[in-house]
Symmetry: C2
Subunit: 248 residues, 2 copies
């Protein structure tokens, strides 16, 4: 590979630049969602599909840990898994996401079956699980770094959604509030890890590419949502408004 | 596959029969170890090699969890991972194993590098990681069921080793004492899981075979130890008595 190694500051800046150009806060669906322009059905479709991403995260983290021979790194990483799945009394992030889908009227069985989710959503999140299982460890760590950009979007989301939708209340936004404190701890660790462990420019470039890849994973989910539920081209088998509701 | 499904009791008995015929408590190295006939170097070789197995267990459990879409099952299974790696204040089983290798004079770097371990040991434990990653989930669960037979061997080991070796004390046996309470919880769950989830005789037979496979993983490690350190045919690159000691 050509080129000298980036300094830690240059490397940091290159990663953040990817976020500035590609993170899904720039997607028109995001603006529509937070700006109060979504219909209830569009918010439902978003929550239903995004569940697939939430659900994949602990499998992604377990995939990563299954490759790690360094016990200290596994002990650090397992916190992510426990944050999502919960442990003991702590219900975890997936449970909090299901409180959001409860609040939107879905039956839990329907949501967790993933059968109404868009195929494009499932392909995107499983591509992320595969990436973390197969890419070099330092590159796999880098793919988590969209968390650097998450607190800003979560803050916007909490304010925007509470203000703009009468069917969204404080309780169902619990997931995002919790992530405001979890995500920065995780991303600080991951950023330091890749700075400390990249041995050459090629690995640094692969890490920056991993953040691009992860932005693609997030962006393509919103593209699919837009196409299905804003443009109205719902693919065969995907959720249609009114389906999958809990019996009341 | 031919044959009717086994009843739960027959299935249980078939699994326990494998243990009665193949569990490594029947291996001559085990008898030698607990009977006080091992030299200090043979005990050292055993602890050094067995570290590789301990070290692989959390990667095996993470491999399993990376394939599980059922959050309740992941939440149950993660306890095994935390038991081995530790979490927060809890040091975990691997740390307790390292207290044993400390007590035997090894440097921690040497042990955790695995470079003195027998190739046959590493092949066996990585075959276990692969098995759990690739086999059907119910079969992967079944492969953990040698834990059914572990408490008896642990009890024998604690008594036998404390009595017979003046270089073994209570502190270094902490690993086995802890496993006396952890293993039964784990094996009860796994046994119930395979009873509840096998859908036909073929799957039941595959589960019994998984326990045979796992017994092979354990047995072959003791064969390799015997050949190297009792028969004295130490392979190139493997630990030789006196190597890898901590500076005192």
């Amino acid at each position: 590979m050509t080129g000298r190694m980036l300094t830690h500051d240059e490397f940091d800046a290159a990663i953040r630049q990817v976020g500035a150009e590609r993170y899904h806060n720039l997607h028109p669906f995001h603006k529509r969602l937070h700006g109060g322009e979504c219909t209830r059905a569009q918010v439902q479709a978003w929550a239903l599909n995004r569940y697939c991403y939430q659900e994949a995260v602990p499998r992604k983290d377990a995939s990563f840990m299954s490759r790690v021979f360094d016990r200290d790194l596994r002990r650090e990483w397992v916190r992510r898994l426990l944050d999502h799945d919960g442990y003991g009394e702590e219900p975890g992030g997936i449970e909090r996401w299901l409180i959001l889908t409860d609040g939107l009227g879905f039956s839990r069985d329907y949501v967790t079956s993933r059968r109404g989710a868009l195929a494009a959503t499932k392909f995107a999140v499983e591509a992320y699980v595969r990436f973390v299982r197969e890419e070099p460890l330092v590159v796999a760590v880098a793919s988590s770094l969209t968390e650097l950009f998450a607190p800003a979007i979560h803050r916007e989301r909490i304010v925007g959604m509470l203000e703009n939708y009468d069917f969204i209340d404080d309780e169902v936004m619990a997931y995002f509030k919790r992530r405001l404190t979890q995500a920065p701890k995780d991303s600080d660790f991951a950023l330091q890890f890749i700075k400390d462990n990249c041995r050459n420019r090629e690995e640094q470039d692969a890490c920056v590419d991993a953040v691009r890849f992860k932005c693609d994973v997030l962006w393509s989910q919103l593209d699919a949502l837009w196409n299905a539920y804003v443009s109205g081209e719902i693919p065969p088998g995907a959720w249609r408004p009114g389906e999958g509701m809990a019996k009341t």
